[in-house]
């Protein structure tokens, strides 16, 4: 891979490699629906399904309700819209 980087300065960087750098840190996930999830990223796969720990789930309603879950979750990547590394979640 480093040979390809050296010979092609204008390479397309693998987007998932940058997500890989977030493993171990807090990450804020925005879903397609009015829901956001904040947790510590343990891992993910090619489909961007994610394993998270110490998770807080936010429902984006006029009241900004919060549900806290601990342990680990497997989040289905189908409904993810954006990932924000180091994010703390929506302002409540």
């Amino acid at each position: 891979i480093s040979q390809i980087y050296a010979s092609n300065p204008h390479c397309i960087f693998n987007v998932l490699e940058l997500v890989d750098k977030c493993i171990g840190s807090r990450i804020h996930i925005v879903m397609k629906t009015d829901k956001e999830i904040v947790g510590t990223l343990l891992g993910f796969d090619d489909f961007v399904n994610m394993v998270l720990e110490d998770v807080t789930e936010f429902e984006i309603t006029p009241e900004g309700r919060r549900i806290t879950k601990l342990d680990q979750i497997l989040l289905n990547g189908n409904n993810i819209t954006m990932l924000i590394p180091g994010g703390e979640g929506p302002e409540v």
Partner: protein, 98 residues
């Protein structure tokens, strides 16, 4: 994780996006979201990494009595984020006003 060597000509639609690497772009997404930020990386699914981003979410509130539509937009700034490609509707250079 094989990186395809790139050419300098525009041959397919994704090549147009390649021209915007490291430039500021405008991304329109599903669910009334828009992003303006610097394009750091993308792939064939249109997953993208954007830096220095302004996100705009537009909502419509309908008044119960008058049935008037009130359009509101909420903006927030995010230093770095990953966008999942299946939510992307269009990618363009930033809109210029005036």
């Amino acid at each position: 994780m094989y990186m395809q060597p790139t050419t300098n000509t525009v041959e397919e639609p994704l090549d147009l996006i390649r021209l915007s690497l490291d430039e500021r772009i405008y991304v329109k997404m599903r669910n009334d979201r828009e992003l303006r930020g610097r394009l750091h990386a993308y792939d064939q699914h249109l997953n993208m990494i954007l830096g220095d981003v302004e996100e705009t979410v537009t909502t419509v509130e309908i008044d119960e009595e008058t049935y008037e539509e009130l359009y509101k937009s909420t903006k927030r700034n995010i230093p770095m984020l990953f966008v999942r490609g299946d939510g992307v509707v269009l990618v363009a250079p930033p809109l210029r006003v005036g």
